[in-house]
Structures are given as structure tokens and as C-alpha cells.
Amino acid sequence: MNSGFLLAVLLMVAPAIAAATFFKRIEYSTIVAATVDVVIASLLYYIRPPVGTFFVDNVSWVFIIMICSVFLLSSIYSLRYLSGKTRGFGLRIYYLLLNLFVISMLFSALINNFGLMWVGIEATTISSALLIMTEKTEGSVEATWRYIILVSAGVTFAFFSVILIYYSFGTLNVSAILSMHSRNTFFARIAVAIALIGFGTKVGIFPVHTWLPDAHSEAPSPVSAMFSGVLLPVALYVLFRIYEIDPDPELFIWLGTLSIIAASILLGYQSRYKRMFAYSTMENMSLALIGFATLNPLGIIGSLYLLISHSFSKAGAFYSSGNFLKSTDTKNVEEISGTWKNMPYSSASMLMSSLGVSGTPPFGTFFGEILILYSLAVGNYIPQLILIVIFLVTAFIGINYNVSRMIMGEPANFKEPGRLMPAVSIISASIPLLIGAYFLVVFNALV
């Protein structure tokens, strides 16, 4: 058996084994599985499975490493975050669902079949829905329901796209379709447009984004981190693969631009910090979609840079939100101030993450954004470029103003929630700095 193929299988087997230890210390076996997955994902960069059952290229590899890394961080963070929880699901069910969620995401990113990718995306809904209502508050149950019904309706619509792809090419094999010379049929174009709305629901593209702020604000923070950091990007990955069949840049770039405008405006109105970060995710996903849609190599690299940096920054933002929530017992920005004094680590990670998700230099997100904007200029999408720049600045001000209000001001009597949670938040928020530094090194070497 080919070693690359074996690695790809092991990638999904590791969390499956962790899930099988349901009755005995599943939380620790999940952390071990996540660590193993990070190692395997790193090896996959050098040892690729042959194109067949799986399809791993440089693009899909970025998504795989993202999934495994955020999985590791979230599984460690959850240990402390969920300890002492008195209502809702127990720790074992939570970790079981977390493992199944990761398996379904990895499956979607690895598999070489549009139909099975669709199945994988739908499976992520099944496995993640119950994670949202882990704490079983009234808000979380309602958010779970909205998530299930809206995302399922959207993804069901996306199945029309899969049917049309099969109708057009007689196969659903990703690599086979992408290697065909004449892919620009009328129905392939319709399939791509339907996928934008269908899978766009899961990506959080305006106007089919409405589940996103509810699910992110009501889910436990490590789950919100998984949603923002990796679930939405995986849906974007599937959308990108379908987009490659017969690209329609005008449609995708305009809808992405509208989505950034909507997210930036809605973000400014939020009084709850987790909802605010959810809208920030919508903004970042839309920008990454635009980068892919340009089909310019720099735009695609920019999107990948943005996505990988965003996944850590946003995970850091949600972990920091979890720290704040645990200490202050409120999600309202107005009710928190002066955390810098008694919660220095969580405040630092919150600030770094908010700077990271809003694309501040030298975070990796900044360089990703610059590459995407550059590719828009090269492609002569000037009206969209101007609108995007204006609303990126609006979002930057909106996020950082709210975060600085929580951190600055008269010191309040809040305490750090232990050591582990702030440590994970800081690590996650710092990684985009390293990604930014790496970009500078590579850029200098090339220039």
C-alpha cells in the first residue's frame, strides 16, 4: 500500500480511535489523536497519496494542516473550559462529537469526489450541530435548530449542483473533471452558481449567512473556534473546487464584495463580542472567496495565507472570548472593562487576536489581504477593490474599538480562569505573527 495513501487513512483513523475510547479518558486520547494528526498532516506535505481515492494538492494540504492544528488547540482548551460544567452534555459526549466532527472535515478535504465531498459537508452539520448545544441553554438550543435547518436547506440546494456536475461530465471525480479540457458547458456554469448559494450558506456568504452569528455566539468557545477557524474554510475549499470547473469571477467577486460590506456594517452594531467575531469571520471568508475567485496565483496564495492565519487568530479570539466569558459571566461588551490589570494574558491574547483577524501588519492575515487586493487590482476589479478597502477599514475600526473598550479603562475585579486557557489563547494568537514573519522571509528571499 502506498505510504501517502496510508497517511491519509491514518489521518482519519486517529480521531476514530480516540472516539472509540469513549468509556475511558476520551479527553486525553483526543489530545493524543490531535497531536498525531498534526504530525501526519505535516508528513503529508512531503508524502502525498496518489490521485485516486484521495486528492491532496498544495491547496488541500493547507486546509488539512489547519484542521489538525485547531483541533489540537481546541481539544486542549476544552479540558479546562468544560471542567465544572453542571448542565448539558457530559465531557465524554462532547469529545466524541468533536472527534466525529474532525473526521468529517478531514474526509471533505481529502476525498476526490464531489458527491462524497457533499456528503462530508453534510456530515459536518450532523456532527457539529449537537456541539453547539453542549451547554443546553435556551439560546444554544435555538441556535442549533437554526443552524441545522438553514445550513441543511442550503447544502440540500448544493446537491442540485452535484447532480448537474454529474449530468455535464458523467463523473464526480474531482481530479478527472479538473483535468478535462472543455469544462465550460452551460450546465457546469449553472452548477457553479448553485454551489455558490448552496455551499455559500455554510461558508457564511451574504445573504445566506444568518445561522453564523447565532451558532458562533451560543456554542462553547472551543467549538466556535473550530467553526470559524476550520469548518467554514473547509466549506470554502469545496466551493473553490467546484468553482475551478467553470469559473465565473464577476459573480463570485461581486457577491464576495457585498458580503464584506454587509459583514462590516453588521459587525459595527454588535453589542456581544462573540457575535462581533462571528461577523468578522464572515468578512474574512468573503475576502478569501474573492482571492480564490480571481484565479490569479497571487490571489489564491493570498487566500491560503489569509485562511491559515485567520484560523489561528480567530481561534485565539474565541479562546480569549471563552476566558472573558468564564471570568465575567457576560457576553456583552458594555459590561466588561479594564481587564488588562487582572487578566493580563487573556487581554493580551484578545488584543493580538483582534489585531490579527482585522488584518493588521505584521500578522499573516495582513499579507494575505494585500495579495488578494493586489490580484484584484491586476484583474482590473477596481470598483470592488475600492469598496473592499473602505469596508475592511470599517471592520478594523469596529472590532478594535470594541476590544479596546473591554481591555482598557478602570481596572475591574476579574480574574484569569486558570493557566491553561490563557496559555492556549496566547499560543493561538501568536502563530499568525510567525506566519507573517515567514512571509517576510520568503518575500525578501524572492525579491
Binding site: E122, E142, T156
Partner: protein, 213 residues
């Protein structure tokens, strides 16, 4: 009567069940309507399996009947609360909903079909491409049911209707590989099981202050 007419008539019957479900205030009636609808679609799969001599379509029909018809109906019906406040959806103006439903369906299907699907030539039914209108109508009917109701049960039935539309569309256009169809069935089943968990917690869905904005 030839097979083409038989399929045309049974497809029309699917739409009738969709309208029947839309007109129901009693949850259990809507759920049973879904059973009838899935059974009729299973019957279409059996007719196509016979005419096309296809084992895949036969398996599909069996899956449709047992998983979607029997199992999902059982799962939903067993969880309907026995309190009148819950098993009966109050505050629903059925004639008004019918009217809006008709306008919504005609407009949406007309737009979608005329722009996107009118040139499709079904592999299974090459002589009657207009039959593709039935699954499209059913899809939008399911979508409307979800948006027009607040009961968890009715919304689940709306979702199952959407999935029924997909299967019908795939069967008419060309049989999608069975492995994918089977996965879709398992997905739907799992989603219904999860939804059933939610029905224990929450039977109706209203606006909430925490989820505004």
C-alpha cells in the same frame, strides 16, 4: 396507459401530498403526509427500476420506503407531544398561506426553470423533460413549509420534502451513483435523529433577544 404517463401521474400525486402537508395544522397529519409522499416517490423509483432495468433504482426505492417513509415517520410521530398546545399548530391562516405558497412557487420555479433547467434533457425520461418541474416545485414547497411554520416537527417535514425533491430530480435526470444516494439517506436520517433530540428541548421557535443582530 404507458410508463411515461404513469410517472407523470404519480409525480402529480407527489405534489398533491405536498399541498396536503401545507394545509395541515395537526402535526401528526403532516408527518403522515410525509409518509405518503415518500411512499409515492418510492413507487416512482420502482417503476423506473422496471423500465430502466436498474438494480440501483430498485435499491433506492427500498431505501426510500423504509428509511424515509417508515423510519423517519416513526421517529417523528413517536415524539409529538400529547399536549394540545403542541400537537396542534395554532395561529396559522391556511388559506392565506396557500395563496402566498402558490405565488412563491410559481414565481420561483418559473424563474429557476426558465433560466437554468429548461435545456436539460433527462437521461431517464428523454421524452418528457417537463417532468423535471415536479421535483423543482416540491423543493420550493419544502422550502416554503420551513419558512412559514414555527413548529420543529413541521420544519423537519419541510426539510424531508426538500430531500425528496432532490431524489426525484436525480432519478428523473439521471441516476446518481448509489453510494452517494445511500450516503444522502443516512445523512437525512441522522439529521432527523438530531432534530428529534431538539424537539425534546424546544417544540416551537420564536425570536430571542440574545440572537438579534
Amino acid at each position: 396507459m404507458n410508463f411515461s404517463s404513469a410517472i407523470y401521474l404519480t409525480s402529480a400525486a407527489v405534489l398533491i401530498t405536498a399541498f396536503y402537508i401545507q394545509g395541515q395544522r395537526y402535526l401528526i397529519s403532516a408527518i403522515r403526509g410525509q409518509l405518503v409522499q415518500s411512499t409515492i416517490i418510492a413507487a416512482i423509483a420502482f417503476i423506473l427500476a422496471y423500465t430502466e432495468n436498474s438494480i440501483d433504482l430498485l435499491i433506492l426505492g427500498i431505501l426510500l420506503f423504509f428509511l424515509r417513509g417508515v423510519l423517519i415517520t416513526y421517529l417523528l410521530a413517536a415524539r409529538v407531544p400529547m399536549k394540545k398546545a403542541y400537537y396542534f399548530e395554532s395561529g396559522i391562516n391556511v388559506p392565506y398561506l396557500f395563496l402566498v405558497d402558490l405565488v412563491f412557487m410559481v414565481v420561483s420555479v418559473f424563474i429557476l426553470y426558465s433560466i437554468a433547467f429548461s435545456g436539460l434533457v433527462p437521461v431517464t425520461l428523454p421524452d418528457s423533460p417537463q417532468d423535471l418541474l415536479f421535483p423543482l416545485l416540491l423543493f420550493f414547497q419544502g422550502l416554503f413549509l420551513i419558512t412559514s411554520r414555527r413548529s420543529t416537527f413541521t420544519q423537519i417535514v419541510g426539510y424531508v420534502e426538500e430531500e425528496n425533491a432532490l431524489v426525484l430530480f436525480a432519478m428523473f435526470l439521471l441516476p446518481v451513483p448509489i453510494v452517494i444516494e445511500a450516503s444522502v439517506f443516512l445523512d437525512v436520517l441522522a439529521l432527523v435523529v438530531i432534530s428529534s433530540v431538539i424537539t425534546v428541548e424546544k417544540v416551537n421557535h420564536e425570536q430571542m433577544e440574545e440572537l438579534r443582530g
